[in-house]
Symmetry: T
Subunit: 158 residues, 12 copies
């Protein structure tokens, strides 16, 4: 179609950039549900501040998953945030069911956010190298947020 | 534990009510991702109004999934909103990947919201019969919202 | 049409529920104009507080007429809020023209709101019996508002 | 009564001005219900934007009907916005009942707003000639709004 | 000075327009203090609604006195809102000191606002005839407000 | 008095409904002061989150005590929220004076909210059976809030 | 405990200041319930403005009771706002039950607020003399509010 | 087309009114860019207040250019706000490039706004004479704003 | 009258306190009009910041004149803020008419605010000595504002 | 001048960076007027959503033109956003006059935004290479917005 | 200079008052940085509530340091809030570097705020004795805030 | 400790990045106090706009010092914003005490902000080279703000 010509990103760059974006979208959706799962099933003396901050973290994941999925569309690719895709490709350990103590939540969530934060750092570099500074720039904003969350949870245990 | 005694809902009612709540939470999470998937991959002349209203619908699903999952906790049960649980128990056809025309979105989403709306209607009755008017009341508020969405999408095709 | 199948309320319930909804919509529109007519033509020492509260009551009538008319559409029926339909079916005495003293307004409006409040109470029961708890629930919210207005006007004369 | 002397508009001007105001109030109330009727019973691919803008138009009619009815009171005349008066004096064709396609709504509403817009233009002139620039000024503000609505609906069909 | 040439209103019109503006500014300042005097010294069963509405009227007087004084500056004339000028030129009876019953306030204020409202009506005409539609337009907006206040106070006594 | 006839709830239902409302109003006022007493005299590492959430709980009690007391007036009965009435009829153990550790507050408040939550559940049923769905509906909204508070405090000790 | 040394107010001053604070907190809580009791059970032509202003007065009492109770904690003393303490120590006549005419409310509430306003004036002096200007300063702010309320109610009867 | 009949302004008036509207739209767009150009390139001790007020003036020009361009559409004419049209028809001296001292900005901008203000005054009269009071009314509102700006800049040099 | 007994301030203190309050109210009203007069007739390079800050100062004068006049009522005295009273008792030099340069405004206004600031300082002491700490406290708040204004204007000339 | 030394960007970088900034400012101003021209003259069934979103796009262009023009000033260069400069240097085809169908607007605007989006991508790279990461970073933010607009318009035609 | 005469506070009082103000400003700036240092380097299970409340405390210090420094200017003295002055004159132990456990933060900060709170209490008295009730009044407001902070931190350890 | 492993930034990069962050945090704190010192002690005709804008600049410094100090924590390093550290390491000339003319403030502040702006530019490069694009990105945002401030102050002297 004629409209297919109207994609500002150079065609040869699209596939590599899309791979990084798609992976990040899926991981953020998984983290969103991890945070909500913790927000709900949490128990222990740290209930109130963790319940409240997990909700704020969850909202951060949603905001960036939308922003990056729409970047996929901008570069002419469909985004895939279907639940089955998330389960199959988020590449994180299965999240435990049932009640969770505050220590457990701190432990599990720090580990998982840390894992995604590491991957996003790598994608900042690869998207830059693959020639899309715009995507890299958005990942840098996300990276600051993820690193902040890891810090705020990590210090509970130090 | 002593704390386990502090659950206002009568013990014999908890299981049945929890079954209805858990099913609704999972279906709302699935609808949330269906709506976002449509919000992103949509194409055609109805793009702007559908893109905007699908986002609003998605926010309605999130709001009620939180409200009902927290009702599960109130009655002493953990909520399960993990992505794998959603995939395994939402009991809706697999959502299509890739781009979607506006007609397709209207068709698929109307069908899926309608399916959940029907189930929620049945749960209003069963939670009432099972003796938890409080849960039934929240499902009634949700039901109005789902029926409104079905109407607003259905009339596009009439 | 295919779209006609997408109505979550069971077909056999629709007619009875619609009858109650349509009657309430029409009466609320009549009350809206009664309240505005009083808001404008009022005279006497109670002018300021009555002028202000009649406006607030009027806004309550509009809010619920929209909410209930849209419930009609949800259950597959057109709403009829045309002026002629209101005149023919609201089933309230003709409202007096010209200036009105504050005592007259209190008297007439209390009577009229009371009449509608009684009818709405009956419809809470009938819609419940006719198997639409969702509509019944919305009428309960409206009923609280109408009963509050009757109280606030009635006590001026006690 | 002594208070009857306190009406700033000259006595000989009141009747003519009131005639124009009363007619406009009644027509705006009729347009309000026409717009709500369309807002509810609308069907077709233009549902979302029309549903939303009809609500905004309806709010414009209410705002000016209040402002002009209160101008009637300022010049010592009662306002008559009773439903029966609207039916008898709005002088517009009966509005159709039942569902309405988006094309029908555009057609019918453009015609009706246009009719009122023409009448309001004539009243700007007559109220000016009859010596009440204040009323004429308010009608000019309303006229801009009505002409804008006619434009926004008309261009859908051009 | 060179800057004196930059006054958009034609030189021959300035004096007449300024006379009307200056008179209105002064009368609005007097009304402002009359309303505050009443707001403070009021007694009687209508205390709360009158206390509150007198404050709102007072704010209306201030808003228009600023708007019209700044119109004087626009047409190259200084504005004179000094207290002594107000006392000497507002041309309204001396306002009574001490406590005031609610009936007294209604009586006195209705009379005074009515007097200014009549004068403003005359100035709408004279500024129009003297060729400054812009000033006339602002006086029309003020006139609606004053006529509304007269109505709202007058009906307390009808 | 004539005005006494204007009470929409059927006369034979009023006494039973009023008994449930009056009891709930009094218990909510007692809980309000329990929560404020805890908000003030609290000590221990959980001070900040408990201090903050106790204030929010207290505001919830006030909101519903007003809403239910006004329901008493709507059905023609005076409300009794006098301090002595609260002391004599709230039917909860005397609240301890002096400083309170965070564990003590969690323990005492969970117990007391749980007790009221159980009673409110029973009144949802009795008001329903006694034929006032409107009151029952408001109690259901309150019940969700109380059950949520019990959950949020209970999990601190699990 | 070591923490007990961290109280900025000099030890010898604490008892006297606390006595004044505790008495004021208790009286404000009593006034709060008096105002709510009047807000609910009020009847007569002054219903709307009194109903509204009694709510605002009630909120003022709550605001200062919190502020002063927290001053008690600052100076190392527990606050006692338990319902029984209020009943036993507020030292005001028992508030009447049942419906209240607007004249009764004005009469009773003016008397009670006046009584507390007098006591607070005395405590401004005693806390100043007892060397806590900070507490005295907060009581001065409260005193202005109470004196204003007495004025606004008193003038209804003058 | 049928839709072409739906233009409330009488056909014989449209051309003259459109000429005045089109000229004003183009001049306001030119003034907008003049004000931004000054906002950016300004130097000198008056930088902060001029930078800030030039931005506010610029926003006023945009607001009225939209309002008047949409009036063109209302009367059935296309608006022409293309950059080339502005350059060719705004009929103002070429704006200087490069840095500008505060005195230069005051001088140049006062002159330009004054020129447009004079033209708008003439169009108030011509649109009135040509029988469109609605357009004339909007130009009066704009005229007040322009005259105010001329005043505020002019006095810097007096 | 019986209501006259309900004045919390001791009778023997009222006259002296009222004298200070009345004088301050009148001076603040005079300053208000001085500030507006300057806000309007100002010329020179400091126009924008002075025009804007004079308006803010004027609003401060109005706020405190209301607050202190209502203190007069609280202590049982009528307030006198009539224009003639202001002219006769504000005890400040006559304010100059006509245009004012920025230097003139700074000079004149600094002098006048300084004069009132000095008087208010003296009244803080006298009201304290005369036994009304509540009034003294409000004058202290005002004093900070006046001293701040004197500072902000004074430094323009240093 | 001494002040000329205070420019943080290294002198040898300024010219190249300024060239990119100036070109972008001019193109954004052209796009702004293109979007407004479309917002006004649009016709067809997509009128409402396009009219609304074109206004939002236009506001985005203005925001970034200000931000980038002020970057020019930061690096010591004047910005040139004069209308004639825009006409001469925006380097986009002349925009068509007269009415525009919704298809035409989608077509033309997609093409033009796409053209600018491509150029901005190139300038992200050149400004980065020319050693001004700060400017490059702002262009990256703009680039995301432009690519999003191209996507949202392009999909209407797919 | 002439302007030096315009200082409302009597000359003989200025030095003593300034000494108290200067000392308080410097201590508040030190506390501000202590709170931020703690806000950042905090570790341990109380991280979230302490991190959040330390930020709020820090904002309180900034607010009062500005308010009191500007009081210095009002009384004709320069304020000295330079970092070196803070280091040399705040007269508090050196704050520890590196990470801090939540217990350490509670301990250190309680001690430091307590020290300043004691000093401010003394200055309330000295500024009162030295004849500046206005400054004393502002210190009283600050004192309440500091005493509240000491309480809220102290109780964590009780 | 185990938690020490959870730092997303690669260990070998941390020291270099931290050095740049720590230096910037300290310089921003120094600039904050420089701006407040100027905000307070300023004199001369440019007082109002400089006083206001220096406050806004100060708030910008605080915002970025928090954001960058928290970045230090994210990468596992403590932040050091203690007053003594600022004095010892900000590496800017000692700020002058006492009153400051507007020219002096412009001169001194432009110089100091310029110095920091230059250093921040260098750190954008070094953090990029040292492999932390996330920190570099935040410094780029800060750099735009600092360059803007230098521009706005510099042009006062051109
Ligand atoms: Fe989105
Ligand atoms: Fe939640
Ligand atoms: Fe609606
Ligand atoms: Fe109205
Ligand atoms: Fe003004
Ligand atoms: Fe209430
Ligand atoms: Fe509190
Ligand atoms: Fe527009
Ligand atoms: Fe007041
Ligand atoms: Fe700008
Ligand atoms: Fe400040
Ligand atoms: Fe922070
Ligand atoms: Mg970047
Ligand atoms: Mg970058
Ligand atoms: Mg409900
Ligand atoms: Mg006109
Ligand atoms: Mg229900
Ligand atoms: Mg009111
Ligand atoms: Mg005070
Ligand atoms: Mg007008
Ligand atoms: Mg960035
Ligand atoms: Mg919190
Ligand atoms: Mg004091
Ligand atoms: Mg400003």
């Amino acid at each position: 179609e004629r409209a297919d010509g109207w994609i500002p990103l150079e065609p040869e760059k699209r596939q590599a950039i899309n791979t990084d974006l798609q992976a990040t979208v899926v991981e953020l959706i998984e983290l969103f549900h991890d945070a909500k799962q913790s927000h709900w099933n949490l128990r222990g003396p740290l209930y109130f501040p963790l319940h409240e901050n997990l909700q704020e973290y969850a909202e951060t994941y949603l905001k960036y998953s939308d922003l990056l999925a729409e970047r996929q569309l901008q570069i002419g690719q469909p985004a895939d945030g279907r639940t089955e895709t998330v389960v199959n490709t988020a590449n994180l350990p299965k999240f435990p069911g049932g009640f969770l103590s505050d220590r457990q939540v701190l432990d599990i969530m720090t580990e998982r956010i840390y894992t995604v934060a590491k991957r996003v750092r790598a994608r900042i570099e690869s998207t830059g190298k693959n020639g899309d500074e715009v995507t890299s720039n958005k990942l840098q904003d996300l990276s600051y947020e993820l690193d902040k969350q890891v810090w705020q949870f990590r210090v509970h245990m130090q």
